[in-house]
Symmetry: C2
């Protein structure tokens, strides 16, 4: 029975689950960035008619799920599980979104690694024979994250150049046991890697070693290397973190430079949009994957992608108590064929 695990951290499904549909909803700033044409809905403001930013974020997740369902001609009764999480304390965006959907619910917390955490658990549920269809989903919101993790926005705190801009966005993927692809063909689950960084304005550097660890483990477990992928894209390391990750991988003998990118760099024009080192937030890799990458696989521009969302697992309390920021990264291979 213990037959779908290869190497130390990787699983290979017997019948790779297929992506039936994806959906994305983003905020106004994301809707002005270079990937604007790949998002389903661009909000005009960051309240969307709600009384608070938190309620807006929850509505974004709920509506993203409903949009993905309608694209696949499905009702919530067709879905066996929701796997979702977000950055807010007690993942309220996800819980209040799931309350509106009549579907068994698994709440997750992987910070900005949540998109690939949910995809790899969804893969297990389906290929294990426990589910036919699942929704994997996450969100973040610039204003809810800023006031929870950093300062009240009214304070007007100046952002250092190493800081990243939390994406306002929600992304959902519907996975199913049968379909025409693209397929989830591998998942490499990350261990926690803590390089000892305590600067909450330098999250890319805190997460880069975890991304490197998971990507290297994926290569070792599967026997693949950078040349076997059209794109290897990390969650949200930003410009500083991406540079560190690329350098560390090179030292270990893996030159990923030709195929390496980062969702936190793709989504904004960092100079024009004044986002400094790039983007972050659960929603960042969620909307880049479910919007841009999915469309590139569907139209044949990409065949095989290693998608590696990265998370920083600290809290304001742990930072205040002098703890460093543990990083984690989960990788999933998305392929136009079942290999």
């Amino acid at each position: 029975m213990y037959d779908k695990r290869i190497g130390n951290q990787t699983i290979k499904p017997m019948n790779p689950p297929t992506i039936l549909s994806t959906a994305t909803i983003v905020g106004p700033k994301e809707g002005e960035g270079p990937l604007k044409d790949y998002f389903d809905v661009i909000l005009e403001d960051d309240y969307w008619g709600q009384e608070s930013w938190e309620k807006c974020e929850s509505k974004m997740q709920e509506e993203t799920a409903k949009l993905a369902l309608s694209k696949a001609n499905l009702a919530d009764s067709d879905i066996d599980y929701i796997f979702s999480g977000d950055l807010l304390n007690q993942i309220i965006s996800s819980a209040y979104a799931a309350r509106q959907l009549n579907i068994p619910y698994y709440g997750l917390y992987g910070a900005c690694s949540t998109m690939t955490e949910s995809l790899s658990l969804g893969l297990m549920a389906i290929d294990g024979g426990f589910a036919d269809k699942v929704i994997c989903m996450t969100s973040s919101h610039f204003s809810t994250a800023e006031r929870q993790f950093r300062y009240p926005l009214e304070f007007g705190s100046q952002r250092p150049f190493s800081s990243q801009w939390t994406v306002t966005g929600a992304g959902a993927t519907i996975l199913a046991s049968k379909g025409n692809g693209p397929y989830l063909t591998y998942a490499t689950t990350g261990k926690i890697v803590d390089p000892g960084i305590k600067d909450v304005n330098n999250m890319g550097a805190a997460m880069a070693p975890a991304a490197v660890d998971t990507i290297m483990e994926h290569f070792k477990d599967t026997g693949y290397g950078p040349d076997d992928y059209d794109l290897i894209i990390t969650g949200d390391l930003g410009e500083l973190g991406k540079e560190i990750a690329e350098e560390l991988l090179k030292k270990e003998g893996y030159d990923v430079s030709k195929v390496f990118s980062d969702c936190g760099i793709e989504i904004f024009d960092n100079i024009e949009q004044d986002t400094h080192a790039g983007a972050s937030g659960c929603g960042c890799s969620a909307v880049v994957f479910n919007g841009y990458i999915y469309s590139q696989i569907m139209n044949g521009n990409l065949d095989r992608v290693l998608f590696v969302s990265t998370g920083a697992l600290h809290s304001t309390i742990s930072t205040y108590q002098g703890e460093s920021i543990p990083g984690i990264a989960h990788a999933v291979t998305i392929s136009s064929t079942q290999d």
Copy 2:
């Protein structure tokens, strides 16, 4: 492939995973309660030599995992995944514990339903063929929860009679593909049920309808009823919540009175220990299950248990913004045989 799902919300593994070992560590108050003989370690104070309550909680999880590993003669390299979560913002107790263990990590948030959430995902990972051994784990700490969710302890706020006392405790279960039992034979995953309650000092009432929903769904999906169980035990409804749940189940035609209990009632002597409506916290059902219930199954006093951890999925922000408290409950059947 989609062959292990029965009814709407229940899964039945083909080869039920076995429990290899369990471990529990509790605080001083829990060590004075009626279940004191069933816990592995009772702390003398709620710091355990750490600088903060939060660091103590994280150490409790780490040491509980290590104790469960040593009882089963295993090293961390023998374990394929950790599934864990806790109540603290960004589940830092779990993340900092997992940092000390060199094991691929899935962070969960299910509030006080985390123990059964982790067990049901562990079941899927093993029976799906993705893992041979996993650790399922959670914790809570009275002082970290009080100051996060309610008031600073120094404030000396008076607790209403409907309030429950957060357990200081950590519990871990090691599941494996092979062994002599007890076995995990079913898992029923909960949907979110929100009865509209906004009183954070009456969590039992907020969670009771979710518990009832999951227990009834379990009966419908499996064809079993109260007579098929030696014990049906909810997570932490407390005295008020348990009464509501029993009443609601009776109205639906299920008389569970002969076999029904609640972890939040069992762990303290509510009059002697002045805990009001009972106990709560992720650690509550975790230590009652991994300590007391597991030992009763092992010594033959219980054969078949429906274990239903219950969670309240709110945050201080959602309460402040006038939201009600959504409840969830996940059920797992633990049996001395593979049925």
